[in-house]
């Protein structure tokens, strides 16, 4: 249990059974009046940001979050299947729970899943993943200038722009935080 005086940036608390993280915090106190703890809080599931003012005496349940190392197995319909690498338990996430991460999921990729009260609420990918290029126009030597890029598609269906020398069938490294091309993988 937390008290209002425990509030600070980064504290994770429960509001209406959802996990929230304090992203902004201000202590104020009018002359002779009571302490007010003004917070901006982000819902860790929906990312919705709310403003709340708390007073001394208010108490909160901590939002207990657990990170588990999971392996991505396969997708079916609108679900993605992951397996806990320690106890082999399998769980399914909906497409909207996986979000943009689906662009970078390949079989057996190890990821961190964030759980709140047994429910998976977020996914953390490795910063870099290697993916095969499944569709790319051939490089017409000579008719491009430095800095040019061309669109390609990788095995997950994700499309991005890369330097013109990248060819179909090659593997490339992508930064999952920006979704951008980093380099070709040397076999």
């Amino acid at each position: 249990m937390y008290n209002a005086s425990d509030l600070k940036k980064g504290l994770k608390i429960q509001i209406d059974n959802d996990p929230y993280i304090v992203i902004e915090f201000q202590f104020s106190k009018p002359g002779k009046g009571q302490s007010l703890y003004r917070c901006k809080l982000k819902n860790m599931i929906t990312d919705v940001i709310i403003d709340r003012t708390y007073r001394s005496g208010d108490t909160f349940q901590p939002a207990v979050l657990e990170e588990r190392k999971m392996q991505y197995l396969y997708a079916q319909k609108d679900e993605f299947c992951f397996m806990d690498v320690e106890n082999y338990e399998q769980i399914f996430l909906k497409t909207d729970q996986v979000g943009d991460a689906k662009n970078f999921l390949t079989d057996n990729l190890e990821v961190e899943l964030l759980f709140f009260e047994g429910k998976a609420i977020g996914i953390t990918l490795p910063n870099f993943v290697d993916l095969s290029v499944t569709k790319a126009d051939p490089w017409a030597k000579g008719d491009s200038v430095a800095g040019d890029t061309k669109p390609i598609t990788v095995e997950t269906g994700y499309q991005l722009r890369v330097p013109p020398f990248v060819e179909e069938g090659e593997r490339i490294t992508i930064d999952t935080r920006t979704g951008e091309y980093v380099t070709r993988v040397k076999e």
Binding site: S5, Q26, F27, S28, K29, P30, G31, K32, G33, Q34, S35, L36, T53, R55, S56, G57
Partner: protein, 317 residues
Amino acid sequence: MSPGLKNRSSSNDQRRLASRKQNLFLRARMIQAIRKFFIEKDYLEVETPQIIPAPSPEVHIEAVRAGNQFLHTSPEICMKQMLSAGYSKIFQISKCFREGERGNLHLPEFTLLEWYQIGIDYNHLMKECEALILWVSRNLGFGERLRYRNMDIDLEAPWQRISVSEAFFRYTSMSLEKALKKGAFDELMVNEIEPNLGVTKPAFLYDYPVSLAAMARLKPDNLEFAERFEIFIGGLELANGFSELTDPQEQRARFENDLRQRCKSGMQAYPMADRFLKSLEFMPEAAGIALGVDRLAMVFANRPKIDHVVSFTPEEL
């Protein structure tokens, strides 16, 4: 390299301290100017103990323990005992301590200027506040106009005067009575009223409802309100003053009530300030005020955080 200097680049601590040099020089000159003002007006500078057995039982201020006593949260109780003994004009600049108060405008250890004069009421005291701030400003070379957080503030008297109930009417969607009933007074004050106060000229917010009278006397012609005021410059609360309550029975009743409330909300128990209450029997009519020295330094240095005008915050030790 000159001898005595250590051959290593300065740490963050050194850089931070050095970056405050200008503010700390200004702060020191400001405190010297304040002293000069009161000395020229024949006030006696006093020093009262910071360790006291029985703090005034404020319902929203928690004292820091010092052994089996407490660090004072303001020098009020001792200074008023001096008034009762015939010291007619006194001032003090002292460190005060309040548990758990830390924010952009709060430090748990801070500096208060407190002054009292017998034979005057809060109206007279407001005029003296106008004179003090203008005098200090001129002394620091700022003249009659200040720039604080993108506001141009004219310090010449008379300042703006607005009663608490008028402020609720003008700046909030709720009447003062309703705000008190719903327990929304403090929130509306901080979020909706204070930012509007003292924007072009410093402002006095005056006549607080009796439930927030603290140690102020009630208005003789309207017992619903107490003769208490606060000063705001650029939305920043700087000071709290009042016509002093001199009735020992009334003061004891308020203290007993406050001690009960403290107990209910799980705050530390204090002994009753009996010696202070006894001294009130001899206390003449007087007015007094506490002004936040750190906050005044914020205004003159035009800084948004109290951290910028002190040498060290608790986190920097």
